[in-house]
C-alpha cells in the first residue's frame, strides 16, 4: 500500500522542496526546472553567452547524485546503454529547444500552473497533445532499441562524475583566466543571478533525486500511461506536486490567475502550445521527461546520459542561435526550430518502426 502510494509522497516532498527553494531565493515560478536549470549550467560552463542565465545549479547536481547514491544503496545502479544512443542525444536536444520556447520543463509547467499562470495551461494542452501523438507512434510500432549491461561501467558513471566535478568547481570557484573569466560564469542580473543558498539547493536536489528515483516519478510518463494504459499511477505524482505548490502559493498570496505579467513567461499561445507539444512528443519517444532522464543517468543508464548531454547542447544552441524565447516573446528562429523539431521527432519515430518487426 505504502509502495503504491509512495508516488504521492514523492510528489508532496517535491512540492515542498519547490516551495522552500522559492522562498530561499530561486527565480519566481522557477524553484525547480530541469530544462531552465540545465540551460543555466550550460551558460555557467560558457557553452552559451546569454549572461542573464548562467549559474551552476546545485539542484540538478543533487538530483543526479541523489539518484546515484540511492541506486547504489538499493543495488539498482546498473551501467547500461546502447539503445539508439545517438537518437537519445537528439531527443534531448529537441526537448530543450521546445522547453526553451515555452520557458520551462514539465516541472516548471506545474509550478507556473500552481501560481495561476494561464499560459502554462495552454502549454499543458500542448504537452498532452504531444504525448498523445507519441503514444500513437508507440502503438504504431516505434522501437527505441535494447540496452545492454556495460562492461567496465565507465559510460554509466560519466554523468554522476561530471556532476561531482561541477559541484567541486562551484564550491572552489577557481579562476583559470583572470581576464575572460571561467571556468564557471555567473550571471550578475536576470534569472541566473537568482538562487537559493548553495546548501539549500544541493540538499533540495538530493531529496528530489532520492524520492524521484524510488517512486519512478515521471511527468510525461504520467500522461502517457493514462492515455496508453488508462493507468493513473504516475500521474498521481504530477497532481500531488501541483496540489502542494498551489496550496502553498494560496497561503502565501502568490496565486495570480492571468496570462499577462507572469514572471519569466510570454503570452504567445501558439508557441507555448507547440513548444510543449515538442517536449511531450520527444520525451515520449525518449521514454520519459527531463527529470526522469536525469534520474536514469544517475542510475548508470548512459543512453539517458546522452539525452542529458543533448539537453546541454540544445541549451547552448538555443541561446547562441536565438531559438530561446524571452518574456518579450518567441523569435522567428525559435518558431522555425520548434516546427523542424516536431518534424524530426516524427521522422525518428517512423523510421524506427521497421527494426521493431525484426526485433
Amino acid at each position: 500500500m505504502l509502495k503504491r502510494n509512495f508516488i504521492v509522497i514523492a510528489g508532496v516532498v517535491i512540492g515542498l522542496v519547490a516551495l522552500v527553494l522559492a522562498a530561499a531565493g530561486n527565480p519566481p515560478n522557477m524553484a525547480l526546472c530541469a530544462a531552465c536549470f540545465v540551460r543555466d549550467m550550460a551558460g555557467s560552463l560558457g557553452l552559451h553567452r546569454a549572461n542573464t542565465v548562467q549559474y551552476m545549479r546545485p539542484e540538478i547536481i543533487g538530483i543526479v547524485l541523489g539518484a546515484f547514491v540511492t541506486s547504489l544503496a538499493t543495488k539498482e545502479f546498473r551501467p547500461r546503454g546502447g539503445a539508439n544512443t545517438a537518437v537519445r542525444f537528439l531527443l534531448g536536444f529537441l526537448v530543450m529547444v521546445g522547453a526553451l520556447v515555452f520557458l520551462g520543463c514539465p516541472i516548471r509547467l506545474i509550478l507556473r500552473l500552481a501560481a495561476g499562470d494561464l499560459n502554462a495551461f495552454v502549454a499543458l494542452l500542448g504537452l498532452i497533445a504531444g504525448v498523445f501523438v507519441g503514444v500513437k507512434l508507440l502503438a504504431g510500432g516505434y522501437y527505441s532499441g535494447r540496452s545492454n549491461p556495460e562492461k567496465g561501467g565507465i559510460g554509466g558513471l560519466l554523468v554522476p562524475a561530471a556532476m561531482v566535478i561541477f559541484l567541486l568547481l562551484l564550491i572552489a570557484k577557481p579562476v583559470f583566466n583572470p581576464q575572460a573569466g571561467g571556468p564557471l560564469f555567473f550571471s550578475k542580473e536576470g534569472p541566473g543571478s537568482l538562487h537559493a543558498p548553495l546548501l539549500f539547493s544541493l540538499v533540495g536536489g538530493l531529496v528530489v533525486g532520492v524520492v524521484a528515483q524510488r517512486s519512478r516519478l515521471c511527468l510525461v510518463g504520467g500522461i502517457r500511461d493514462l492515455l496508453l494504459l488508462r493507468d493513473f499511477h504516475l500521474l498521481k505524482g504530477f497532481v500531488s506536486i501541483f496540489a502542494v505548490v498551489f496550496l502553498g502559493n494560496l497561503i502565501m498570496g502568490k496565486v495570480n490567475f492571468a496570462f499577462a505579467g507572469q514572471p519569466i513567461a510570454h503570452t504567445a499561445h501558439l508557441w507555448n502550445f507547440l513548444g510543449m507539444f515538442l517536449v511531450g512528443l520527444a520525451s515520449t519517444l525518449a521514454g520519459g521527461c527531463p527529470l526522469r532522464q536525469l534520474i536514469l543517468a544517475g542510475e548508470g543508464d548512459y543512453d539517458a546520459g546522452m539525452y542529458v548531454a543533448g539537453l546541454f547542447a540544445g541549451a547552448a544552441f538555443a541561446h547562441n542561435f536565438m531559438l530561446a524565447a524571452s518574456p518579450k516573446g518567441v523569435t522567428v528562429y525559435g518558431q522555425i526550430a520548434v516546427i523542424a523539431g516536431i518534424i524530426v521527432a516524427v521522422i525518428i519515430a517512423l523510421v524506427s518502426r521497421e527494426v521493431y518487426r525484426e526485433g
Binding site: 539498482e76 546498473r78 547500461r80 539503445a83 508507440l138 502503438a139 522501437y143 527505441s144 532499441g145 535494447r146 540496452s147 545492454n148 519512478r216 515521471c218 510518463g221 502517457r224 500511461d225 496508453l228 494504459l229 488508462r230 493507468d231 499511477h233 521514454g287 520519459g288 543512453d303
Partner: protein, 70 residues
C-alpha cells in the same frame, strides 16, 4: 508464450506485454523476462490492473521471470 523484455526502455515492456496479453486466450500462460526493477514493477502493475493471475516471480542474476495466466 514467452516474451523477452530485457533492455527495453520505458514504456516498451508494458506495450509489448499488453500486445501479447490481448492475443492470449483465457487460461493460457505468458512468461515475461525482464532485467530492470522498473520494468518489473510496471509489468506487474499492468497485469494486476488487467486481472492476470501471477503464478510465479523468479529472480536470478538480475533477471526476473514472471509467469502469469490469463
Amino acid at each position: 508464450m514467452e516474451l523477452n523484455l530485457c533492455g527495453l526502455s520505458c514504456p516498451l515492456p508494458v506495450v509489448r506485454t499488453r500486445e501479447a496479453w490481448q492475443k492470449l486466450s483465457g487460461g493460457e500462460e505468458l512468461r515475461l523476462v525482464v532485467d530492470s526493477p522498473v520494468a518489473k514493477e510496471n509489468v506487474l502493475r499492468f497485469l494486476e490492473n488487467s486481472g492476470g493471475k501471477v503464478e510465479k516471480v523468479e529472480e536470478k542474476d538480475g533477471v526476473t521471470v514472471i509467469s502469469v495466466r490469463k
